[in-house]
């Protein structure tokens, strides 16, 4: 849910339910790396509430678009992490046949 002003779309607070520091802190990092962002931060209003508020203030672009771009960027980063990790695992297995043996034992 988005809380912001009707006339000014450059500053908004996004209230996301069923999320916590895991997503909010990562998004906060990515938002901070965006030159369009003037301010961003997040808070968990109450530890018993299962939600986070993410505040985004921009230098002119709509806050919603900037947040969406950041989430998209985070997804691209994750995909890259996954790809790099999988290649590293395959490579490690090729270079360390003992690791392969352990895996083969598991299959028996």
């Amino acid at each position: 849910m988005e809380h912001g002003s009707v006339t000014d779309s450059t500053a908004s607070t996004f209230s996301i339910v069923e999320e916590d520091h895991t997503l909010a802190n990562s998004v906060r990092f990515v938002l901070n790396q965006d030159p369009r962002v003037a301010f961003c931060g997040y808070s968990i209003p109450h530890p018993a509430d299962n939600k986070v508020n993410i505040r985004v203030q921009t230098t002119g672009d709509p806050a919603k678009d900037v947040l969406k771009d950041s989430l998209q960027d985070l997804m691209v980063m994750c995909q890259h992490v996954r790809g790099t990790f999988d290649t590293a695992v395959t490579q490690f297995r090729q270079n360390n046949p003992t690791g392969m043996n352990i895996d083969q034992n598991k299959k028996k």
């Binding site: 901070n32 030159p35 985070l74 980063m77 890259h80 790099t84 990790f85 695992v89 598991k106």
Partner: protein
């Protein structure tokens, strides 16, 4: 958009030529551990922090993809260690949090107690049963919600029936005594009206789990002590395992633990020679330093194994305090995952990254 990209590429090398002065670069990329407390813990997160100097501090997705590296140093059946280089703590921490709390696994949730004459109380026994790691791939199962009937897709049934004969010595009940029931529960539901039907049980499996799964299910470790039975005592029960997440109860956490530490870096401000070098080498409990022979009797301390550093800070206290600086590299994490057995550690990490992607996707679609 293509033309704008080209111009971006033209500008990039120019920006990289400009470098931050060394003291700022250290502040940006290192946490310095002083004897009493670390300094520069915050770093510079703001993208335009150095724009006045013409230096770009942003980490765009492209830049990230160019610099990110993974180096695996250990990978076994149930534990792994790898280095993640070029990633921020917030994202590394997201992976860690997901590994611990948001990856689904199977764990014992319900126990149907028929008989327990052992000295261990029912509720204590149940708690112990719940924490037993099961050798079941959670990806083959579905969540069971409140109104769902236990079936072959959401429940795994095990039974435990052990007794200690009178006159025999004490018997130790181990997790290996749990026997998997692929056909579902064998305990009849107490409803006398259904005598003509097949006797109803606590689960309604439409087919055997043997037909669905590639390999038989069991427990990961067969030697976990559950209880001890004296002569004449017995335990008879049936357990139902369901899919769940670590944030509900730690028994569903797929990792014994998952943690990371920042890469330690030890730097000499001045050369340490002779007796002082010997003293420094002796002082370090994990042997980070070595002695290098310079010839003609001269000796010098060198940093040989920075990775072993536990940050005890012994070297930044006492006489060597002026010469040694302890740092940690801000974007280099030594990540360790210990799996409890449901999935191998490398699969756990891949799943964790995928879950973060799904979270992003969910919020994007909610915003649209």
């Amino acid at each position: 958009s293509k033309s704008s990209k080209d111009t971006d590429d033209d500008h990039e090398p120019k920006q990289q030529e400009k470098k931050l002065p060394e003291h700022l670069e250290v502040q940006r990329t290192r946490v310095v551990c002083k004897a009493d407390a670390p300094v520069n813990t915050e770093g510079f997160q703001y993208a335009s922090a150095f724009s006045a100097m013409g230096i770009d501090n942003s980490v765009s997705a492209e830049k990230f993809c160019k610099n990110f590296k993974v180096e695996i140093s250990r990978l076994t059946e149930d534990d792994m260690e790898f280095d993640m280089i070029g990633i921020d703590a917030s994202i590394a921490n997201a992976f860690r949090r997901i590994l611990i709390a948001e990856l689904p696994t199977m764990a014992i949730e319900k126990v149907l107690m028929v008989d327990n004459t052992s000295v261990i109380a029912d509720e204590v026994l149940l708690h112990r049963l719940g924490l037993i790691p099961l050798d079941a791939d959670p990806r083959h199962f579905e969540y069971m919600s409140e109104n769902d009937v236990p079936n072959e897709r959401n429940t795994i049934v095990y039974k435990l029936h052990v007794s200690c004969k009178k006159g025999s010595p004490w018997l130790t009940v181990k997790s290996g005594d749990l026997e998997w029931l692929p056909e579902g529960s064998r305990l009849p539901l107490a409803s006398p009206a259904q005598s003509r039907d097949k006797q109803k049980t606590y689960t309604s499996f439409s087919r055997s789990q043997n037909d669905i799964l590639e390999k038989p299910l069991g427990v990961k470790f067969k030697d976990i002590t559950i209880a001890r039975l004296g002569p004449g005592q017995a335990i008879e029960l049936e357990v139902h395992a369901v899919k769940g997440m670590g944030k509900v109860h730690a028994k569903w956490s797929p990792v014994a633990t998952a943690w990371y530490r920042m890469f330690p870096e030890v730097v000499f401000r001045k050369e340490i020679k002779g007796d002082n070098a010997e003293k420094l080498v002796k002082k370090c409990p994990v042997n980070v330093f070595d002695i290098e022979d310079l010839g003609n009797g001269e000796k010098r301390a060198v940093v040989a194994r920075p990775r072993a550093c536990t940050l005890c800070r012994e070297c930044v206290m006492g006489p060597s305090r002026e010469q040694v600086e302890l740092r940690r590299v801000r974007d280099h994490f030594i990540f360790t995952i210990e799996s409890t057995g449901g999935l191998p550690p490398e699969a756990l990490f891949t799943e964790a990254v995928r879950i973060l992607e799904e979270k992003c996707e969910r919020v994007i679609s909610e915003l649209s």
